[in-house]
Symmetry: C2
Subunit: 254 residues, 2 copies
């Protein structure tokens, strides 16, 4: 007689807050980009300067998309208190008044790597796939239900450890990386936890059906994939097999 | 013999900056909502309190849409300097930190008119057409070319005179309107000119073909129509013929 498997557990009941949070956090363990081979090469000092330039140049596109996805989110929010809370994310990235913001700090990194600012901000040297991937994130936030859009920001739950690892690993392993140019990551160590705490509480309070909860967990997967796919295309173009697509940045030191 | 008409002037050449600005300003003369019969009734003291309540309640939907359309605009802007400039519009409406912002000032007006805040911010008592009209404005800004989206804000060129008229007329003519509740309009007397100067300079610098210039002039028309149509539906529902659609606010004093 065939062995009978137990039927799958009914997955139609609302998860409790702890179970829901654990399901979200499990996505990080499963697929946050700190597990990507390119990340390990980057932080382990295994890349040459041209490959680090390619990473910084492509990642600029992501940095630049973030305040736009936050604005896309705000454009759909009727709750003024939520907009007033969310706008601080745009301030963090674009700056406000005297505060230059995270994108400016990213450009200090690309400056430090010897890349021309106009070339970086033109996004013309980025891999076409990078641009497609980050714009898909902006679109996701513009189109998905609000609670799902908020959930897609929750990859920030996993960010502080990668930032700490990045700061230490890159400073230690590359003579072309100085403390000064790592300012972006140092600032994110305090910004990301504040944002992800708010977003986690929002998602836990506002995902009110099992389907919404699962859509939120899927949104964290989607977002981790956005980050992972950016490293896939970098790895393919600049490491293995090292096939740079037409028009994309060609490092001098490759 | 039939009389021959002169052929229309060729309209394919770029307008000079003065001609272009004049074409934009002419739209105000042609169709800004200070010419609407409802506006004249409102400012001339010819409405009863219930009708003024209906106006304030519906206009809240427009006020509430404005920071969302500004966020929709920012979500499409790759130029960080432009985003850093534009975000001040969201601050003006939503407030920032201790500054409560224009929407809060609008709610002081609806408070003063005896309307419940939750009812106002729910937008449930607004005319369905009001909601359609203002969301169409958000969509326009999200979908049109950037320079055309900016141009749609240029109805602000015509705003200070209407605000001055509104403050004077409403204070003089209604015993239920106090100086305190008119704070929104007084603040806009300084905010609107700053914003419209920036937007006008942007449009003049960035509309680079005749077609783009005409699309910008059309955008100002579109925006004036957004404002005009809101008064049309108010007039129809609450003045002549006074047909309030199902579910919309019914004033106690009608």
């Amino acid at each position: 007689m065939n062995e009978m498997k137990a039927p799958p557990l009914a997955a139609s009941e609302l998860m409790g807050p702890n179970e829901f949070e654990a399901a979200i956090r499990a996505v990080g363990t499963e697929r946050y980009h700190d597990k990507h081979v390119f990340h390990k090469l980057l932080h382990g000092g295994k890349l040459n300067k041209g490959q680090v330039q390619a990473w910084a140049l492509n990642r600029y596109c992501y940095q630049e998309a973030v305040p736009r996805k936050d604005a896309a989110f705000m454009s759909r929010v009727h709750d003024r208190d939520l907009r007033r809370e969310w706008i601080s994310r745009i301030h963090d990235h674009d700056g406000l008044g005297e505060e230059p913001g995270g994108i400016e700090r990213w450009l200090i990194l690309t400056d430090g790597l010897g890349l021309d600012r106009k070339y970086v901000t033109s996004r013309q040297g980025a891999l076409p796939a990078t641009r497609h991937i980050v714009e898909s994130y902006v679109r996701f936030v513009r189109e998905q239900p609000l609670v799902v859009a908020v959930a897609s920001s929750l990859s920030e739950l996993f960010a502080p450890s990668i930032h700490r690892e990045r700061i230490a690993g890159m400073l230690e392993n590359y003579d072309f990386i100085s403390d000064h140019v790592m300012a972006y990551f140092k600032r994110r160590l305090t910004q990301a936890p504040r944002d992800s705490e708010f977003a986690l509480a929002y998602v836990k309070a506002n995902a009110r059906t099992r389907e919404e909860q699962e859509a939120c967990v899927d949104a964290v997967r989607f977002k981790c994939d956005v980050l992972w796919a950016q490293l896939d295309v970098l790895n393919h173009a600049y490491v293995t097999p090292g096939l740079i697509p037409p028009g994309a940045f060609v490092p001098a030191s490759l």
